[in-house]
Each structure stands twice: as C-alpha cells, then as structure tokens.
Amino acid sequence: MTSVGHLTVTNLRKRYGHAVALDNVNFSLAPGEFLTLLGPSGSGKTTTLMAVAGFVQVDAGSISLDGRDLTRLPPERREFGIVFQGYALFPHMTVAENVAFPLQVRGVSSAERQSRVRAALDRVKLSSFADRKPRQLSGGQQQRVALARALVYEPRLLLLDEPLSALDRKLRAELQWELRTLHRDLGVSFLYVTHDQEEALTMSDRVAVFDKGSIVQCGTPDSLFERPATRFVADFFGKSNFFPARMSSTSQSVEWEGGKLDYGTGASLPSGDQLTVSVRPHRLTLVKADAAPLNGVVTQRSYAGTVVHCLVRTHGGTDVLVESPALRGYSGIPDMGETVGIHVDRDAVIFLPQ
C-alpha cells in the first residue's frame, strides 16, 4: 500500500460572528488510519471536517497533506473523497453516471471509465443497479453508491460526514462492518465524523472527542474508555457515575462517599483539592446491605436483555447506576425499595478533575 495520506491539522480557529466554532484544533492522521471526530452537535467536529474538505475557510491555522499546505486551496483541488450526510447523489444521473462523474472530471477515457465504474460498483455489490436513478434505491444502497463514487478516483483520504446517521439501527451495524472491511482492503485514510459514541468505539483506530470547539481528548477507543481525561469524556464516551471527592490532607488518599481510597504511588491525580471519583456502571456490584461502605436504596430497575440496570439512591443522596449481568430475568436482582450495598472495584475507579 502507498504510504501517502498523512494529514496534519494545526491550530485551527474559526469564528462565526461572536460564536467560536473552532478553538485551536490540532490532530494528525497517519496513512491508512481510521480517525473519528466525535462530539455532540455544535461541538465543532463537522466544521473541522468541512475545513479539511475546503468548504469552510478557517481564520487561523493550517491543514497539510504529506507536507503540502492545503489551507488556501479550493475544495476541487484537494483530491479528497467525501461521503456526505444524506449522500448528495446527483438526482438527474443514473448510479453509473454518478460514479463516473469524478472520472469524467479527470478526463479519463470512456472505456477506462466504464471498467472502473463497474469495478467500483462491484466492490459495493451494486453492479446490477447501474442504470437506476438514486431515488429508486434504498437508503443503504444510496450510501453504497456514495461510497463507490467517493472512492472510484482513488483519493488519498476519505472524509465521511455522519454517513450512517439516516439509516436504521440494524442497517447501520451492517454498514459499519462494510466500512471497516473497505477501510482495511483499500488502505485509504479515513476521517470520520459522528455523534454516535458506539460507532466511534467500534470502528476507529483513534477517536478525537470534541467539546465546545476543541478536542478534549484524542486516543484509541479503549484508552478513551478506560482512562477518560475529563468528566465530559467519561460521560459522553459510555456512561459513568460521578461522586464528589476531596484529597485527604493527612495521608495519600482520597475521601469520598464510599470511604477512603488509597491512590498509591505513581498514580496521576488531577491537581487541586477537590476532585471527582468516576466509576463505570458495569464495574459496580450489588451486595448485601452493609457489606460495603457504600449503601443505598434501589429506586429504579430496568431489564435490557443481557443486563439489568438498577438505579440506587445512596444515603449520601447520589443516584448511582449499576449494571449487572442478567442471567434469568430479574432473578438475583434486588427488589425496588430494598437497601443494598454497592461494591466498588478499586481498579475501576477513575480520578477526574472536578
């Protein structure tokens, strides 16, 4: 595979009037990497993608590919493939004409065009639909046409803007696999925008989490999940329980509702007196009352097939979500109103800034 497609984005800034859309965005994308920009709506992820594509002019910062500065280049000369939200297929052209369009722009001969269009449609299993119009296809099929069209001219980098958001859940899962296979087979770098944390988690090599116009954390999906740097990441990337805590002045420990936690040596702690103790719901276990330092009353239960969720109001007044494996429906799960203890696995505790 070619070793091109190294994208570097440095110090991007963009304002719309007084609203700051991008505030110092930095990241790089290695050749063949799958990087996801994840964040809630309005967090700057799509603006960043559109800046890379060339449709948003940034106020400051630079975008370069393989060392070549693209910041002032118009979109048509950046040579990226883009898959848009809502697919953006040309409604007056057939599927084949849509896929042939970028080749026609590049002056590819009609014979070569035909064979490359056929190959691209084969790859997405749509060769038999070549003569249909886009509106005669289902959402998933349109999505595949958009992919074929964006890849047929072999761009160095593929930009994807929430490509699966219009599809239903099952189809989305199917296309997630297809996209990953495609990414692996082609070796093209993928820059992917989504607000769906599950999608980001399952598909990406790395994820950059956006909040209020900047990247708050960037890393592999498991490092983001296991070691979130802020409360926002811990909450957005999977569910978390948060407890207020403070640093003990006497010993090397943290005091919180659940007692004292020895943080040992070498553990990196957020600076400051006040901090937050965070634990994922699936790392908590329900035990008999008073068998653990943290106790509370079950206020809600819900069965979700593979797991049962219990909401426990602690004596300190915190609502704690506990996820337990469901083996036989609700059996073995405490009843509503029952007082229970919550066992916290020491390894599962994450210290976060307040």
């Binding site: 594509a53 040309f90 369009f101 509106r135």
Partner: protein
Amino acid sequence: MRARPSGWLLAARIAAFGVLAFLILPAFIVVPVSFTDTDYLSLPQDHLSLSHWQTLFQTPMWRNSLVQSFAVAVASTLLSALFGSLAAVGFMRMKPSMAAKLRLVLLLPLIVPTIVAGLAWYWVYIPLRLLDTYFGVILAHTVAGIPLVFVTASSALAAFDPRLEQAARSMGAGQVRVLRQVILPFAMPGILSGAVFAFIASWDEVVVLLFITSRNVYLLPRAIWDGINDNVDPAVAAAATLMISVTVGILLLQQLLSRRENGKAS
C-alpha cells in the same frame, strides 16, 4: 362509497363550469369565424371555407409576420431562459437579505403595466436608434421574459441541496462544470416551464410592439391589430386561431413534459 353531491355542491359545480366557459369561449369564437364563407367577420353562413386560411399562408404580409413572430419569440425565449436561470443561480448564492431586495428589481417587468413599459421602451429606443429593429423587439421581449424564467427556475432551485454542489466540487469539478452538469440540470424542469411562459408572452405581445415597431418589424399580433383596424378581412380570424393553437399546443407540450418528469419521480 362516494357520497351523492348535495344540491349546493351541484350548483357550485355548474357555476364553476359557467365561469370557465365564460373565460374560454370568447377566445375560441375565432375558430369557426376563420372558416367562414363570407368576406367579412362572421360565423359560416352556407358552408365551411378554407379561403381565409389560404390568404393567411399565401399573402406575403401574413406569412412574413408569422415567420418573424415565431423567430422573435424563439430568440427572446432562449435569451430569457439563459439570463433568467443564471439570475436564479446567482440569487441562490447571494446573502438572503441582499437577495430579497434585488428580487424586487428583477420582478419589476412583471409589475410595471405593459403600456408604461411600451412608453418607456419607446423613449429609450429613440436615442439608441433601436426603434423598429429586431434587436430592439427581442431585447424588450427578453426583459419581459426573464422574470418569468427567474421565478420558475428559483422555485426549482429552492429544493437544491447545497451538498450536491459540495459533492461535485470535492470530486474535482470547477464552478463552470458544477453549473453545467449539476445545478442547471437540477433546475431544468423549472427553466423549461418558465421558458414556455416567456415564449407565450413574446408570441402574443402587442402593446409594446405598437410603440416600438412600424413597417420594418411586422409581427403577427401587430398584423392582426392592423387587420382589425383597417379592414375586416376574416384572415384575421385565421391568424388568431393559429396563435391560439400554437399557445395551447405549447402549454400541452409543457404539461406532457412535466407529467413525464413526475412519472419518473414516483
């Protein structure tokens, strides 16, 4: 099961058809008159005759004005379609506040009374020496046709997803190619129906013609006008019938085209 129409509804239907007949029938009275066997404007007396149609196609005056009229209508329609659709694309790219103000200017030819427009063209054309020239007539008809195309092309483009343009550009297409291969094909149904109206507007326009033409440019509506004023040759009725047929024919063609377009959509 369909409910039986009540008395009121029935009355309303009859009234509606009455109004429709009132609107349409006077225009169509020229059809039988054009086949009259008399030498004056009247309904056929003893039998039908084609002699006035013969006059229409054999007299150089009638034949020339027919050809000229058609040529002028085609030329001004093409120009209206070109400028009207480009204006619509331009407005799509404009800031909405700016577009709202400029739109009014562009629609002015629709709002200004035709007689005032005729007078205005007359005054402007005297110093420009454009009176009684084809260029002058085509220009005046084009200006009147542009807003017609602009309105229909704009409404077609209202449904245009800007991402289509972004997609085309991301694939390497420059502005001109985007316009030619993406935006204009998208707006084409709107442009075509606007062009039909522009054609009809030019084809049967007489008021401005009366101001800006005399001997050199002699179009069909003007020929009919003079024909009525000077003598009562029933060839006028044949010319009028021909005008109506062309207009109705073009409207039917447009209906057919748009039906086919909709058929493809569903």
